[in-house]
Amino acid sequence: MARKQLHLAAHFPGVNNTTVWSDPRSRSQIEFSSFRDLARTAEEGTFDFFFLAEGLRLREVHGQIHDLDVVGRPESITVLTALAAVTTHLGLAATVNATFNEPYELARRFASLDHLSGGRAAWNVVTSSDAFTGENFRRGGFLDHADRYTRASEFVSAARTLWDSWTDDDLIADRRSGRFAAEGAGRFSHRGQHFDIAGEFTVPRSPQGHPVVIQAGDSADGRDFAAAQADVIFTRHGTLEAGQAFYADVKSRLAAHGRTPDSLKIMPGVSVVVGDTDAEAEEKAAHIRSQQVSGATAIATAELLWGIDLSDRDPDGPLPLQDPVVGSGVVRGRVGFTDPVATVAQWREAAESHGWSLRQTVIAQQNRQSFIGSADTIARQLDSYVQADAADGYILVPHLTPGGLDDFVAKVVPLLRERGVFRSEYTGRTLRDHLQLPTPQGAASGAA
């Protein structure tokens, strides 16, 4: 049986402490040249797509803007549309919150990106219900947690209705008869619990029909939403065992939606540290971890976990003795720990058995799978995980802007190609081609 082919994506370094801004090689997080250079590296490595995260409210600690990590970023869809000008094949994925947008405007923006990139657009659908982020928007934090996925799912369905409102043949442009579009082209209506919209969509059917849909949530609701709507899942489950369990669970949900297992690609977000030898890579990784976790960052991470003010603690001293306070609101605008009580217990145990300080304990905690080793070790591991159905590929999260994937593309990608599990050149034109996803079936011409 042919070996499964890997899919790879490049995550532009974001606003958490994975990104090491203090390194002298670290360049602007906002200038277009940084995006261009990392995207070009990814395209040289024949990656499937380039990925941008989103934040709609700057994060706060103790009611003040968090200042230890990268702050600020450009707006994703606009950056990706500009990147379409300086790349030719690379998929372009934007994270956009469904809660603070409406289907018509967002479907229009993604269809436009798909046209302007020749079929390379992807949308990572995220939802939010928090009033903190909502303070930047008309409607505030207006959704119950339980409604997030029902609204998101209906949002994506409505967007698909809009994308289907033009068929491939609706753009007639017949000079002689003077008919530009087919009768009823673009006409749509969607009536549901969350959206009641109708009218005329103005963007002709885009090269991919539907931009690729990515989903990143992990709850049971999130998994069902992905099984129903997504083409790609961006997950945290990057280890072999957790990855296999997640993979089996999600793929098993597809049949209920009439979908085949290969129509949804599972891609954990991981970091990679490449060295000349495994030992050298371990040293590099340890150095990167210490750059990622300064004393101040160790305190900030502990505050996120404990939910209390720890600003007067010594990061090189022991762990706080208090019990964590769940839902204290000390830290706002970022994803917290799912089970603080259990995590604190785990940290205490690890700190006691190794004699670690708070900072050393935080350094040792990795919430993301890392592949660390020589190029050969990493290529072998990535391949074996994918063949063992722990993933269909990986979203690589580099720690440096924009050079963070240079080593991987120069050293690991050639080995993956040698192993026959990763493309040597792009064989398709669109992101759906790269991901080997089925082409969406359009609606009948003029369907309303």
Partner: protein, 393 residues
């Protein structure tokens, strides 16, 4: 006399509704990125100051005989940004239905990806059709929507200022990426929305991307007066255009702003041929297929267009927004014939190479930061700021 500004509208197949039916137009490629890139590059090479692209949340034309489809205008010009370096990029952005926070972030980002060449033409969505597309509000009276648009422009400027230029410090000693004292909450409360701030996007290269507002009637006049760096005037004859210019000047002054800091462009649609007869024949062919009101227009030769432009400049307009009747035919005439002639006659400035911001092009200064003025040299900036924006005034 300051050099005349030249702008070109790159909409659809051209300004005439039947433009797409001309043989010269590759209709199947109307939405291909290569088209907009080559048109923008042609304009840039010839020294055109800026290009505009209209937009709305409804159809572009009326009925199946016109180009009803179009892509998101800001996205289209973002696609052209990395392959150009000195031409201004001015998409229409509608303020009625989309969250102001998203709008200002997208416009700021266009400024980042173009290294300081972004503008935005504010427009409202007053049709029931657009309201049904979004499904949140019913169509409102234009004067209400323009009042809201003024607020969107105001909050956008505040959000662009919510990061001081030097907010990113990357201070290794303290481990701080930013100096949070140089980031500011906008705490803006408008009549239909509020925005806490700060923006997610650092202050764009121009400080404030350039705000364009078309004088579409009395409803948009207050927005022109309060927010426009550039006003677009669109009239059917010269006298009406001159009267409109005077109206704008009065409104700007009443608002306490300096008219020297507002540029006025007059829209002229052009169909250009080597001789008047050929021009008329082409116009008749187009009109036979579709006829709609076209504002101040010129059908004829470049020779006869020059005196018209000269008149417009003499009457106080800072420049012209040229709307080619058929882009593929009339843009080359503008770039290859008209612009060199304007330059030879001394009306237009020299076409020098090298990067430029849109504010450089327009001769508009980079604005001071509303928040930063508080803690340095407040008096220095107070003089050239409108009274209502002065802190503590």
């Amino acid at each position: 006399m300051t050099p005349l500004l030249t702008a070109v509208a790159l909409d659809g197949a051209g300004f005439h509704p039947a433009a797409w039916r001309e043989r010269s137009v590759g209709v199947q490629d109307l939405f291909a990125p290569e088209r907009i890139v080559s048109l923008t590059l042609r304009a840039e090479t010839a020294g055109v100051d800026l290009v505009t692209l209209a937009d709305s949340l409804g159809p572009a034309g009326s009925g199946p005989g016109e180009v009803t489809a179009r892509l998101d205008a800001l996205a289209v010009l973002a696609r052209a940004a990395p392959v150009t370096e000195r031409i201004g990029l001015v998409p229409t952005v509608t303020t009625t239905h989309t969250e102001p926070f998203h709008l200002q972030a997208a416009v700021a980002t266009l400024d980042w990806v173009s290294a300081g060449r972004a503008g935005w033409q504010i427009q409202v969505s007053d049709t029931e059709l657009e309201a049904q597309h979004i499904g949140r509000r019913t169509a409102a009276d234009p004067s209400v929507l323009w009042a809201e648009a003024t607020e969107v422009a105001e909050v956008s400027r505040l959000l662009w200022d919510s990061w001081e230029d030097d907010a990113e410090i990357r201070d290794l000693a303290t481990g701080r990426f930013i100096d949070r004292d140089r980031l500011h909450y906008t705490d803006y409360v408008g009549s239909t929305f509020s925005v806490k701030g700060p923006s997610i996007v650092p202050r764009p290269p121009q400080g404030h991307p350039v705000t364009f507002v078309a004088l579409t009637g009395p409803e948009s006049l207050p927005t022109v007066a309060a927010a426009a760096d550039v006003v677009l005037i669109d009239e059917t004859d010269l006298d009406a255009a001159v009267a409109a210019l005077a109206t704008v000047g009065d409104a700007v002054r009443r608002r306490g702003r300096d008219t020297e800091q507002v540029r006025a462009l007059i829209a002229v649609s052009v169909l250009l041929e080597n001789d008047p007869g050929t021009a008329r024949t082409r116009r008749e062919r187009l009109d036979a297929r579709s006829r709609r009101r076209t504002p101040l227009d010129h059908v004829g030769t470049v020779d006869s267009l020059l005196p018209l432009i000269e008149r417009l400049a003499e009457t106080g307009f800072d420049g012209v927004l040229l709307r080619p009747a058929v882009l593929d035919t009339d843009l080359p005439t503008i770039t290859d014939d008209l612009l060199p002639r304007l330059r030879d006659s001394g009306l237009a400035g020299p076409n020098t190479p090298g990067p430029l911001t849109l504010r450089d092009r327009l001769g508009l200064p980079r604005p001071a930061n509303h928040f930063a003025t508080e803690h340095f040299a407040a008096d220095h900036f107070a003089a050239d700021r409108p009274a209502e924006l002065r802190r503590g005034a």
